[in-house]
């Protein structure tokens, strides 16, 4: 697979996060290659979401460095990293619930040029409406029919897809998905899987996911975390066969999805 040869887009070096005496992350190293799907798995409380917060800048690190696209972004707040080409979805759906679906995506697309948001004179029409991006993301999500409904009126599965779409609309280099299938019904899972798989051509995907079937199917690389540290990293088959991983976390879950 050519993925192994593609350049490293994102690198974490010894990233630590402490809350008082509690160590949430104890020095995590991670290398994410461009145009791959890189999954981070591990039991609850392993520090996956905390690592995400560090990588996307939602929270500050206690130690270590984060390099993205050749820049040291360790000290940059989240809105600055968006401009560098990072975008994220949330584990708990986080949308502008009273605003229409189209407006949600427009706001997400506009976030790449946030200085424009200070324009208090011109309405967002024409060139300022990001219409092409919004239309293409709507089509990708299959939400065209709901474009003018408030996001709060969508079903859970639709909201989860819009959640991914919010990240997509920023046309990012790297897209961070935090449990995109959480709480989803069986029917919606395949849609989501196809959606994520289709992202790889244009984006790099960093994925936290509990559904092993999806993780094993679509990942190029898997990092297994346990108690704030990296336990193992490798191709899906290698992870599936890894004894430490089996005993620490996956057990029979790993074969539950497939085979």
């Amino acid at each position: 697979m050519s993925a192994a040869a593609s350049p490293i887009l994102l690198e974490a070096q010894g990233v630590e996060k402490r809350y008082d005496k509690f160590v949430a992350l104890g020095g995590v190293d991670l290398k994410v290659r461009a145009n791959t799907v890189h999954s981070v798995i591990g039991p609850n409380g392993a520090g996956k979401t905390t690592l995400f917060h560090m990588l996307t800048g939602t929270k500050t690190v206690s130690g270590g460095r984060i390099l993205f696209d050749g820049h040291d972004v360790t000290r940059e707040p989240d809105h600055r990293r968006v401009r560098r080409g990072m975008a994220r979805s949330f584990q708990v759906t986080s949308l502008f619930l009273t605003l229409p679906v189209r407006e949600n995506l427009r706001l997400a697309a506009q976030g790449v040029a946030p200085a424009m948001a200070l324009n208090c004179w011109s309405p967002p029409v024409g060139r300022r409406s990001c219409a092409d991006t919004v239309a293409s993301v709507l089509a990708r999500l299959g939400l065209e029919r709901h474009a003018d409904n408030p996001a709060g009126n969508l079903s859970h599965g639709q909201q989860r897809r819009l959640e991914v779409g919010m990240a997509l609309a920023a046309r990012p280099k790297a897209i961070f998905l935090d449990e995109p299938t959480s709480g989803m019904g069986i029917d919606d899972l395949d849609d989501m899987k196809r959606l994520i798989q289709g992202l790889k051509d244009e984006h790099t995907v960093v994925l936290i996911e509990h559904n092993m079937g999806i993780v094993m199917d679509i990942s190029d690389t898997i990092t297994v975390m346990q108690q704030g540290r990296v336990l193992a990293e490798g191709l899906p088959d290698a992870i599936r066969a890894d004894e430490r991983v089996r005993s620490a976390y996956l057990g029979n879950m790993i074969t539950g999805g497939k085979a």
């Binding site: 809105h79 949330f90 619930l97 946030p114 208090c120």
Partner: protein
């Protein structure tokens, strides 16, 4: 489309008041507090910021125009512009500090500023007149090179002047609310975490909202001082902040005209009730309770619901009108 509709409605209010009201001062007061409530609404309804600092910006406007018109022979429009600028500057300072926190602590910071400003205004009696306030503020006519364009001596002449500024501010604020900026504020109101994740600098957005709000509120404070001829300490008091907030909430948040409605309701009801009963503010408490408990979209929302009911009933009215008629006969 709705933009023009709302502007026309605002124009209708401005034209209608002289037809139905006796007192030009009272009508001016409605528009002045309408301005202040609209400024407050930009923060509360559009950005989700509950600011107790509005009294500061109102007071700054009053003091600025009072000082400039009594001590320096500055042309009145310039003095008014300075008052607007001071309101904006005050809001920039209060906003710059307060938006570092969210929720309760944000509210507490604005409250702290309101208290501080009151005591500064109280202590600096050389500038503000302290407890007495600034007295004998003139109301010069609008003149260019000695030619009087618009005399402001009578209450209704002054009302016309206020009305023009009110309509200009309304048009400007509508423009702001419909702009890229205004639409982004709604996103901040809905979900700050997502707005930041999407790439917006919340502090800059909130700060700009504060500055615009402060400018409009400063204008309102200046117009109020010119109307009454004094810049009293009470204009800078915490109670003024509270009053502006109450008007905004009663009218309904998230809609500029609703704020004008809230201000009109407060000013007119207060004027009427205070002749009947000096403790009328007690009744206002009841109104506020009703709005908070069951009418969270305010009087404007109530009006919208009623209008919706009327329109839905309208086609069915024809047969039921017959029933009513027979009922009347019996």
């Amino acid at each position: 489309m709705t933009r023009h509709f709302h502007l026309l409605l605002a124009l209708a209010i401005v034209v209608a008041m002289p037809l139905f009201m006796q007192s030009g001062s009272l009508a001016s007061e409605v528009l002045i507090f309408g301005l202040a409530a609209m400024g407050c609404n930009l923060l509360l309804g559009y950005t989700g910021l509950l600011s107790f600092g509005q009294g500061i910006f109102f007071g700054l406007g009053s003091y600025t125009i009072g000082l400039l018109l009594t001590r320096w022979p500055l042309p009145m429009p310039l003095a008014l512009a300075a008052a607007v600028g001071m309101g904006a500057a005050g809001a920039a300072i209060v906003g710059w500090v307060a938006i570092r926190q969210r929720g309760t602590y944000f509210v507490m910071l604005t409250l702290a500023f309101a208290q501080m400003f009151y005591f500064i205004a109280y202590s600096a009696s050389g500038l503000t007149g302290g407890d007495n306030g600034l007295l004998d503020i003139p109301r010069p006519s609008l003149a260019v090179a000695g030619h009087t364009l618009w005399p402001l001596a009578t209450p209704w002449q002054y009302y016309g002047f206020v009305a023009v500024l009110f309509l200009a501010a309304f048009w400007f604020l509508r423009r702001v609310c419909d702009s890229v900026f205004g639409r982004t504020l709604l996103a901040v109101r809905d979900n700050e975490e997502r707005a930041a994740a999407v790439g917006y600098d919340l502090r800059l957005l909130k700060l700009q909202a504060f500055v615009i709000s402060g400018a409009v509120t400063g204008l309102a404070g200046a117009l109020h001082a010119m109307m009454t001829g004094i810049a009293p300490l009470s204009n800078a008091e915490y109670h003024t902040s509270e009053m502006i907030l109450v008007m905004t909430v009663i009218g309904g948040t998230g809609n500029l005209l609703a704020s004008v409605l809230g201000a009109a309701f407060y000013v007119l009801l207060g004027d009427w009730l205070s002749t009947l009963w000096p403790r009328w503010l007690l009744l206002l408490g009841v109104v506020l309770m009703v709005v908070s408990l069951g009418l969270q979209r305010g009087l404007w929302g109530l009006g919208e619901s009623l209008w919706g009911l009327v329109r839905r009933k309208a086609p069915k009215n024809a047969p039921s009108a017959g029933l009513n008629a027979t009922g009347d006969n019996a």
